[in-house]
Symmetry: D2
Subunit: 295 residues, 4 copies
C-alpha cells in the first residue's frame, strides 16, 4: 500500500482540482481558465453542467497540472478567492497529493469493509484510513491485519450521545475528512450529521426510494420484486433521504429467499459503496438541491 | 403475420402445456409423467419449484409433444382431471396451436402499443389481437394499418362504469383471454378487474414499489435517482400492488431532466411489457401469494 | 415531426457547438473561452479530454448560447480560424438549428430502420431524413408513410460500382451529411467510404471484435456464448474494424437457438444504432487513433 | 466456516441430485420420477432441456429429498444403474452433504483467489478447499490465514512437466474433484487436462471469443471497445476454446487506459469465476457439444 501511495503522490505532485458552483453567467470559464493559464497550469480534464443558461446555476470540475504547485498553494488560494468573489462562487481547490483521511464505521456485516480495505490495499482507493470504528468487536483482527487502528465503541439506542462523543473526539484527533458507513447499523444524531455535512457516505441495502428503513431485503422478498438494489448516499437527518450518489441492481427470481437476496445484495452493496467513495475522494461530486452532480 | 402464425401453428400442432400448483408431496412428478407417457407424450421442457419439501407448495410447468393431440384433447382433459383430484391440483392444460386472444388498451402514449404490434407482426408474439381499445383516437391509423379493429371508447373518471360496460361487452364478443394495458391511463373498477383476474397485464413506468401512482418520472427526478425503471404486473384492486411479472432499469444522470427520464423510460417500458406478455402467452407464469413464479 | 423540429430549432436558435482536437499545451481553454466571452457567448456544457498533459493530445466539446448567433456566423468562423491556427487545431463549429441531413441505407431486415424513423418522428432524433435507399423494395411503404422518399437501387456483388454511382449522385443531390447503414447488407467500395469518411455509421450484429464478418449469430451459437452483442462503428475499408462508437449486450442461454439469438439481437442492434446516431448528430464524437472519444 | 458447513450438511443430509444426459424419447421422466417415488424421494427442483423432441438429446437435473438417504446410497446407485442402461444415459447421482474438494491454482494476481476464499468463509461456496497451489509465493499468508495449506510449486515454460507431476501427486493425495484456475498464468499440458476433463474451471480476462490468448486488456484498449468482459470456461487443449460457463461485462470509455481496464476487469473476473464454481459444485452444468447447459 505504501508503495502505491507514494507512487501516486509522486505522479500527482503538481496536480490540482477546482470544484465550483455559482449562478450562471457568461465569462466564468474564461475567467477561471485565464487564471489557470496565468499560473502555467494546464487543464487536464474538465466537465461542466448548467441547470439553465439564463438564471440557472453553473457547476464545473477542473483537473489541472501546475508546475511547482506545492510552492504556489497559498498564492493560488488567495488569487482564486478574488475570482470566486466576483462570481459568487462556492468552491474548493484541492491538491491531489494531499490524500483524504477516511474513517470507516462498521457493525457486524463485514463485506463492505472488506471491499474497501482490499481496494485500498490494491491502490484503487487513494486515501488514508487512519481508523475503523465499530460498535462490535468482530472486525478487529481483519482491520488490524492492514495495520489500521480498530476502535470498538459499543453503541446502541441507549448510549447514542456518549458513543458519538467518543467518536467525534477520535474523528477530530485524526483529522478525518470523510466518514464511510460500511453497513453501520446505528442512526446518527443531528449533531453528528451536522458536524460532517456532505461528508458521511452511507450504503443502504435497497434501491431507494423503495424500502426506506429497516429490513429492506425482507420487504423486497415480500413484495416479489424481480430486481434488488443498493444505494449509496450522503447522510442527512431524514433517514435514507439524503442525496443519492450511486445505485446498482441485480436480478433475482422466485427461487431466491430472503437469505439469497441478502447474499446477492452484498455483491452490489460493496461495489456501489466503493464507487461512491472513489468519486468523493476524486472530487467528482457536487451536492445540489438534495441531488448529486457526478462529474 | 398470417404466414408466421400458420407456420407456428403447424410446427406446434402436437404441442401441449401443463401448468400445475398443489401442496407438495412425493410422487407428483411420477404421476404426471406417467400420465404423459401413457399417451405417448414426450416431455420437451419442464421446470419445477417447491416452496418447501415438507408442507410447502409445488409448482410445475411441462411442455410436451403428443402425437395426434388434436383428437386426444377431451381424453387428456378428462384423464388428467382424475390425477388433479388426487393431488388437489390447480391446473391448466393448454394446446400451443390454440393462440390466445389479446385486447390491447392504450391512451395517448403509443410506444408500448407500437412495440407490441411490431413484435406481433415479426412473429415474435404468438397470439391473436382481435381489437385495440383506446380512450383517445390517436392510435387509430396505426392500429388499422395492421388490419386490427380499433375502438374508441372515451373514458374518464366520470363515465368509468358506462365505458367499462362497453369494453366488457366487446371483450366477451371477441372471446378475449388477456388484456394488455399498454400505458392505458385509466383506473379499472373492481368489477372489471374481477372479471379478468390474473389476465390483465399493466406496465407501470417506475421501478415498483418506488413511485407508486401518478407522475413517477417527475418524482424520480425530484428524488435524484441514478437509475429509473419500469415494472409489468398483473392488475389487482390495489393500485400498482399486483404481482410483479418483470422489471428492468436504465441508468440516468444529473443532466437528465424529467423529459429525458420519460424518453429513456419508454425504451424499457416497451421491452418489459413485451417480455411479460410473452411469458404469459407461453404459460410461463404462476401467481402465488401476490408474487409470480416465472418458469 | 414538423412541430417537434420547429420547436427544437426555435429553442436552439442561438446554440452553437465547438469540437476541437489539437496538441495539448497550457492556455487552450483560456483562449477558447475568452473568444466565446468576447462574443457574449455563455458556455452551457463542456467536456474535455487529454491523452497526456505533456506531449499528448487535447480534445474538447463546448456547447454555448450566443445571442444573435445567426448574424454572427461568418464572424465567429473567421475569428475562430485565427485561434485554431495558433494552436494547430482541427475543429468544427456547428449551429444546432442547422439540422444534419441523414440518408438511411437498408436491406431486408427493417427493425433498425423502424426504430430510427419512430425515434425521429417522436422528436428524439433531431435531423432531417431526405431519403432512404435500399437494395430491396421491402421498406417502401413503411418509409413513404413518413413522407420520406424511398429509392430502390438493386445492389449486389456484381453491380457494386454502378449502384454506388447512383447512390453517390443522390447523396450529393440531397446534400447528405451522414449515412446510416441500418442493416444494409452490402460492402461499400473504398471510393464510397472515402467520400464520406467518418460519416458512415454501421451497426454490426455482434460484440466486436468477436465475430467479425458474416453470420455472427450462427457463430455465436456455435461457440456457446452466454452473452450476445451489437456494435455501432464508423465504416472504414477494413471490414468491421472501424472506430467503435457504442456497444451493448444481452444475456442468452442454452435454450436459445440461432433464431432466438437473432430475435434478441434485434432489440440491442436497434438501440445501439440509435444511440450512435444521436451522439453523432449531437457532435459528441471525435475519432482519434481508430477509436472514438464520446463526450 | 466450520459452522456454516456443518449446518449446511445437516440441512442437506437427505438431499440428492441426479444429472442425466441421453437420447430423447418418451418415458424418461416417468421412469426417473417413478424410481424416486419408489424410494419415497420427493423432487424439490427439476429442470429439463431437449435439443429436439425427435432424434435429439435430453438433459435433466433433479434435486430431491429422500429420507435416510445415507443408508440407501448403494441401493439408489445400483437400481438407477438399470434405468440408466435402458435409456443409454450418462448420469451422476450425488449427495449434497458430500462436499466437493476444490484445489485453487493462482499466480500473482490475487483478486479471484480472495473472492473465492471470502465467499467460501461466508458460507456462500459450499465445498472443501484442501489446498491452494501457486507458482509464486505471494498468496501464502493470505491463504494460510484461512487455515488452508499453501503449496508453492515454481512453474514456467521450462519445467512444466515436473511441476505438473508434483501438482498431480498433490491433487490425488487430497482427492481433489475440481481445479479452479484463479488467474493461474501457466498453460496446462494435455496430460494434465485429460486427467481432470470438465473439472478444470478457468477465468479468462476477456469476453470470449474476443481476445483469445495473452494481454486481452491491452488488445481491448487498442481496439477501442466500449465494453470489456470476462469469461469462465472449462479448460480443454484448445487455448480459451473450452465450453463457456459464464460471462459478464462492464462499460468502459475513452478515458480508461489499459490499467483502468484491468482494474474494472478484476471486478467482473472475480464474480464470473465465483458463479461458475458455484454452478459446478451445485451440479448445475452439463457439457454438451463444447457448450454448457446451465440448469
Amino acid at each position: 500500500m505504501k508503495n502505491h501511495r507514494q507512487a501516486f503522490q509522486q505522479d500527482n505532485k503538481n496536480r490540482g482540482r477546482l470544484l465550483i458552483s455559482c449562478p450562471d453567467q457568461p465569462g466564468i470559464v474564461a475567467a477561471v481558465s485565464q487564471f489557470l493559464a496565468n499560473h502555467q497550469a494546464n487543464i487536464i480534464e474538465s466537465s461542466q453542467y448548467s441547470t439553465n443558461p439564463e438564471g440557472g446555476d453553473f457547476f464545473i470540475r477542473i483537473e489541472f497540472e501546475c508546475p511547482d504547485i506545492e510552492s504556489k498553494k497559498p498564492l493560488l488560494q488567495e488569487e482564486f478567492w478574488k475570482i470566486a468573489q466576483s462570481f459568487s462562487m462556492e468552491w474548493t481547490l484541492s491538491f491531489v497529493h494531499d490524500l483524504r483521511k477516511a474513517a470507516i464505521f462498521v457493525s457486524k456485516e463485514l463485506h463492505c469493509l472488506r471491499e474497501l480495505l482490499l481496494e485500498w490495499e490494491n491502490g484503487d482507493l487513494m486515501m488514508d484510513i487512519p481508523l475503523v470504528i465499530s460498535n462490535h468487536p468482530d472486525a478487529k483482527d481483519f482491520v488490524e491485519s492492514f495495520g489500521i487502528p480498530f476502535v470498538h465503541i459499543p453503541a446502541n439506542k441507549n448510549n447514542r450521545q456518549e458513543a458519538e462523543q467518543q467518536q467525534l473526539k477520535l474523528l477530530e484527533e485524526y483529522n478525518i475528512d470523510i466518514i464511510i458507513l460500511a453497513r453501520y447499523m446505528q442512526i446518527l444524531t443531528p449533531t453528528f450529521v451536522k458536524a460532517y455535512s456532505e461528508k458521511i457516505i452511507n450504503i443502504h441495502h435497497s434501491f431507494l426510494p423503495a424500502f426506506v428503513g429497516a429490513n429492506p431485503y425482507a420487504r423486497a422478498f415480500e413484495r416479489g420484486v424481480k430486481i434488488i438494489g443498493a444505494t449509496s448516499h450522503y447522510v442527512t437527518n431524514d433517514l435514507d433521504e439524503g442525496p443519492i450518489i450511486e445505485q446498482d441492481i441485480k436480478r433475482v427470481n422466485h427461487r431466491d429467499q430472503v437469505e439469497d437476496l441478502k447474499k446477492n445484495g452484498r455483491i452490489i452493496e460493496r461495489s456501489v459503496l466503493v464507487r461512491a467513495v472513489k468519486w468523493h475522494i476524486d472530487d467528482r461530486i457536487i451536492v445540489y438541491d438534495n441531488k448529486t452532480i457526478i462529474f
